[in-house]
Amino acid sequence: MKVEGLKKFYPVKGTTVRENKPFVHAVDGVDFEIYEGETLGIVGESGCGKSTIGRQLVGLEKPTSGHVLYQGKSISHMSHSRLRKIRTELQMVFQDSTSSLNPRKQVFDILAGPMLYHKIVDKETLDQEINRLLELVGLPKSMKYRYPHEFSGGQRQRIGIAKALLVRPRLVVCDEPVSALDVSVQAQILNLLKQLQDELKLTYVFIAHGLGAVRYVSNRIAIMYLGRIVEIANTDELFENPIHPYTQALFDAAPLPAPRLRGRDRIVLKGELPSSVNPPSGCRFHTRCPYALESCRVNDPMLLPIRPDSEHLAACPVLMPKETRNGEYNG
């Protein structure tokens, strides 16, 4: 999949009809690629736009501008009927399976519906397929006639995963799939996701705010702040060598389960997240950046390789390795 110049703005609620209607700049110019078979993690805090991107990727919403290209074709401006055929290949696992499962339907029906609609199986093989699916996600077959509220949170999440997998997708976007779960159950689900990726040759986009979980499952990670990607690299490279100050701050902020390292030096970000209706001028992060220079207030940095030919991209001219610092700027 390829994302080009993706922007998504939402009008601010409750404003009267006027010329300069304020918009929430949820996603404000994002480019990246997703390669077959990998897991791309997208990390950021609230308001960074990661969930919005997730929805654009599976065609749930149309972007304000820019494209999402799937296998070379733009799905963002595709007709409804053409998109319908592709939809089975692009699926989503949601954060709160409690509210994304119809509480009045039995699990069997929840899973059977899409399978029959998309003619993935016919009525004879339906039962068999559902059994296979439940086994795949680790749910007991005996529970297929139960209702969602009779399952635990972790089990409901497994149903959500089964639902995403039943149409035989190629790309699965997981939007905070474990945030609402207990710690020990999170581990179960993360392991399951990894296992399923191997077995079914899936491509994942893993959206989360928990760095540890993202690192566990992802091959590459993109860090987002206020609607833009500020850094993107292979997982190991990113953790060994984080460039962007926000990335570093995120890493520092993650609580470290090692009491003896408590007093260590870390970046504590000042201030609050700026409004995405009126993003700061120049580099969006400059208002909270411990390394900000005067130029950062004016120049909006581009996402550039930190070394020529490197796949590690960062949007910070201040902290880039010296060789590439003759940076180009946006606009």
Partner: protein
Amino acid sequence: MEPLLQVNDLSVAFVEDKTETVVVDNVSFSVEPGEVLCIVGESGCGKSVTALSILGLLSPNARVKSGSIIFEGKDLLKMNSKELDEIRGNEVTMVFQDVMNSLNPVLTIGNQLTEIISAHMGYDKRKAKEYAIEMIKKVGLADPSAVMKKYPHMLSGGQQQRIMIAMALACEPKLIIADEPTTALDVTIQLQIMKLLVELQKEFHMSIILITHDIGLVAELADRVIIMYAGQCIEEATVYKLFDQAGHPYTRALLGSVPSIYDDPDKKLTSIPGTVPENYYEIEGCRFSGRCPYAKPTCSKDQVYFELEPGHLVRCHRVGKGEIPFESE
């Protein structure tokens, strides 16, 4: 030294349609002056209910079945509402989890702050207002006089939580109970709030009971840790001991199941199979045995909460007998 707070054999049950479910089962622990005690556990283990019992904030369908909570020589469970009100907000205060819903949406910040000051510190209106502004400044919010006039929904989650902390600290309490105060917040904001709390704790020489499920946070903040499972305390130790040599199999599995960015990249997450059984109160013997990799038939006998070594309590006889080897980190 006398502990600041001593909880003895506390049992709390929920009553619904004449059936009782015991959610806190004979829990005992103490809090020393000036220390940070973390109570850790997953949802449903009873940690929040334990915390709410201290200040008598349980919902109407909850009943304290036994136990005592001794604070400065008096049993809080035996106090009437009036006596408790002297202590609430004053000597012992609480910071709640879901901060968006924990502040009254129709009252200004200033109103909600000054009322706690007026209730306990006996200041007049003007002095209370000045003091409130001081507190807002102290918790790191800019333009305190403007904040006083705002309503909660005009502030962000992090700012609201700072206000809750301001309210909790206003009367210089001896003990703050913080129930998952940062769960709903972004991780960078969480760091700000936690640093603030630690700073103020040292300044005011308070004790904190921090309730959380975030192991990382425990490592950052705790002096001592209590692990709860299915309504019982199953381990208690200093934070260093816990991370170096956790005893109980549940604790070990818990520590191993949290993905940390500092882990070895190839490390596999330990996941605990299954879930907490529904009617755990009725289980004979160890409540964790159904999911424990070390379970043996002897686990079906009632487990004693005993002292493995000074300051380290465990509720697992196999650990006690040395049958489960420690892995040193």
